[in-house]
């Protein structure tokens, strides 16, 4: 059972973490998780409930600080950077429970996403209004394209809090895509949505990979993992239990015992 650094020599790690630990008042939520996320592929992060998957995503995205361990984005060490700086390097994330910017319209949710907007500086707002307006128009055009792809176009002028649960899931992804991510961390993008929408979201994620985005997604549905994920990281009790392709992992008794064997339970939880 290798821990971390298990990629082929030909593959490059877009995101790498090593020895990540995090304790909440004595409970070791993450206890030495270490894995690579290969560039340009879809990696699934699986594991039983309480394995520390969401905590790992929170740490990787900077929403939470880790107690020890290191994180690299490409060659840059970003351990315990604040999330806005990690986001500016191109690592975007979505949330397990959709967190829309409820008072903003759907279109505005997307327009908030691009980093380094000219119009976020007071000087530009007053002294370079033309530049601000031009960039704003470009962003709006792109946002409408993205909304069109994600089937939210007709809801563009609705306050985001008025969307349905499934639409909010799509908005989460669309908003992250609008920020032009290099790496996308999806925390259970398909939790609580109907089977048809699962297929649709799966298709969107594959499209993202085709356009060069590296994806790390937490997913419980092994059908989805089998169909769209290139690479799998299994977490159990806060540690990396194994990494590899799903069919390889099916041969791995430790993995089967910890997670795959309980797949019926995990499926029933949805």
């Amino acid at each position: 059972m290798t821990v971390g650094g298990v990629l082929d020599r030909t593959e490059i790690a877009a995101l790498r973490c090593d020895g990540i630990t995090k304790a909440f008042q004595g409970v070791h939520a993450v206890n030495g998780a270490a894995f690579d996320v290969p560039e340009g592929q879809i990696t699934a992060l699986i594991g039983p409930n309480g394995a520390g998957k969401t905590t790992v995503v929170n740490i990787l995205s900077g929403a939470m600080r880790c107690d020890s361990g290191r994180e690299f984005l490409g060659e840059t060490e970003v351990t315990n950077w604040p999330s806005y700086r990690i986001a500016r390097l191109g690592l975007l994330r979505t949330f397990q429970l959709s967190r829309e910017l409820g008072g903003l319209t759907v279109l505005e949710n997307l327009l908030t996403a691009p980093a380094h907007q000219e119009g976020e500086s007071l000087a530009n707002v007053f002294f370079r209004p033309g530049r601000v307006r031009r960039q704003e128009r470009e962003h709006a055009e792109r946002a409408l394209d993205v909304l069109d792809i994600y089937g939210l176009y007709q809801h563009r002028d609705v306050r985001a809090r008025e969307l349905s649960g499934g639409q909010k899931k799509l908005l989460e992804i669309a908003r992250a895509v609008m920020a032009e991510p290099k790496i996308l961390l999806l925390d259970e993008p398909m939790a609580g949505v109907n089977p048809a929408l699962i297929e649709l979201i799966g298709a969107y994620i594959v499209d993202l990979r085709e356009s060069g985005v590296t994806v790390l997604m937490i997913e419980h549905n092994l059908n989805v993992v089998e169909q769209i994920c290139d690479y799998v990281v299994v977490l159990a009790e806060g540690r990396t239990l194994a990494t590899g392709r799903l069919n390889e992992l099916r041969q791995n008794t430790a993995v089967v015992k910890a997670y795959l064997g309980e797949v019926i339970d995990a499926g029933a939880a949805h």
Binding site: L101, L111, D148, Q154, A179, P195, I198, V206, N223, I228
Partner: protein
């Protein structure tokens, strides 16, 4: 009569400015600034001491006394309020949110109040500043009566300028980022927004408005003392904001008209009830509270609420989508077959 009318007009425009400042902090960015009136007071005091000449022989005690001319002292008063905001923000905004921030700020407001009230050397303590020079009174030959309408017009001009600037900010991507932070800080940070920096900007802009609003107050009355800014005054500005409509500049004008002008200042001109001096004032404060409760119950968005910004306002023309896209229709080009989905 003109004196009364223009006093009301002045307070209308002045509270409009104050409400716009509080709105950018609370309404747009979600900073529950319960010390707002403290920033107004700092603006007022500094505008006063920048405008007053040396304190020697005046019977007052205060710092500075630079004798600067009108628009300059007002501007510096606004900047003084911003400086206090910078200090407060550095201490509080990084770690504290919502209720905890509110508690700290309300304490700050009380400390600031006691300090200014008791430390005479700063702004003349409980007596406050008085005999502040009336701007333009000499060159225009204004007397006590003509100064009131004149300065009400000055306040109107200043507030219109500040309204113009504020609308610009609120419509810009910067204003949108403020609202993103208000709606969900964690999401804003995950999208690459420096939440502390955003809040700091909002705090500074809002405090500038507070300072200028306070500066106009001391220039209008020629005096300013601690009775003018009891910490509870903050809630009058909140009432203006909530009655008018959070997030809407014009709504705040309506709020200032309804709360500040009609409810607070107009009754002060009513004749006293015989045998009960000051009773009207007390009824008045109670009425503000009642109006606020009624509003929050029946029309929480305010009289003139924030309007949605629709697609055309971003400079693009919406076209009919070819992806009718309703979820579940699955007309998406690349829809996958995920085997036997559960």
């Amino acid at each position: 009569m003109t004196y009364y009318v223009f006093t009301l007009v002045f307070f209308l425009f002045d509270y409009w400015i104050l409400a716009m400042g509080l709105n950018i902090q609370y309404g747009e960015t979600g900073i529950l600034n319960f010390a707002y009136i403290g920033f107004v007071a700092i603006g007022a005091y500094f505008t006063g001491v920048f405008s007053l000449h040396s304190a020697k022989g005046t019977g007052q005690f205060y710092i500075l006394g630079l004798g600067l001319p009108f628009p300059l002292n007002l501007l510096l008063g606004g900047i003084a309020a911003m400086s206090l905001a910078l200090l407060v923000a550095l201490i509080t905004l990084r770690r504290l949110r919502t209720d905890y921030l509110a508690i700290v700020l309300i304490s700050l407001s009380l400390v600031l109040y006691d300090f200014c009230n008791n430390y005479v050397g700063l702004f003349n303590g409980a007596d406050g500043l008085y005999n502040v020079p009336e701007p333009f009174a000499k060159p225009f030959g204004l007397n006590v009566n003509s100064f009131i309408p004149f300065f009400a017009c000055v306040a109107a001009v200043v507030s219109l300028l500040m309204w113009f600037a504020m609308s610009r900010v609120m419509r810009s991507p910067m204003g949108r980022t403020f609202r993103a932070v208000r709606d969900d800080e964690v999401v804003a940070a995950a999208l690459g927004k420096n939440v502390f920096g955003v809040k700091l900007k909002s705090m500074l802009i809002g405090s500038f408005y507070a300072g200028v609003g306070g500066g106009l107050l001391i220039q209008f009355g020629g005096s300013f003392n601690p009775t003018a800014w009891l910490p509870g005054e903050t809630f009058v500005v909140f009432a203006v904001l909530l009655v008018g409509g959070v997030g809407s500049n014009l709504g705040m004008f309506v709020g200032a008209l309804l709360v500040e002008t009609l409810l607070i200042h107009l009754p002060a001109f009513l004749p006293e009830i015989p045998g009960h001096p000051g009773l009207i004032e007390y009824f008045d404060s109670a009425l503000v509270g009642i109006v606020l409760m009624v509003m929050l119950w029946f029309r929480p968005q305010g009289v003139a609420p924030e309007r949605l910004r629709r697609t055309p306002s971003f400079g693009v023309v919406p076209q009919d989508s070819d992806n009718s896209g309703a979820i579940g229709s699955l007309s998406s080009p690349a829809a996958l077959e995920l085997g036997d989905a559960p």
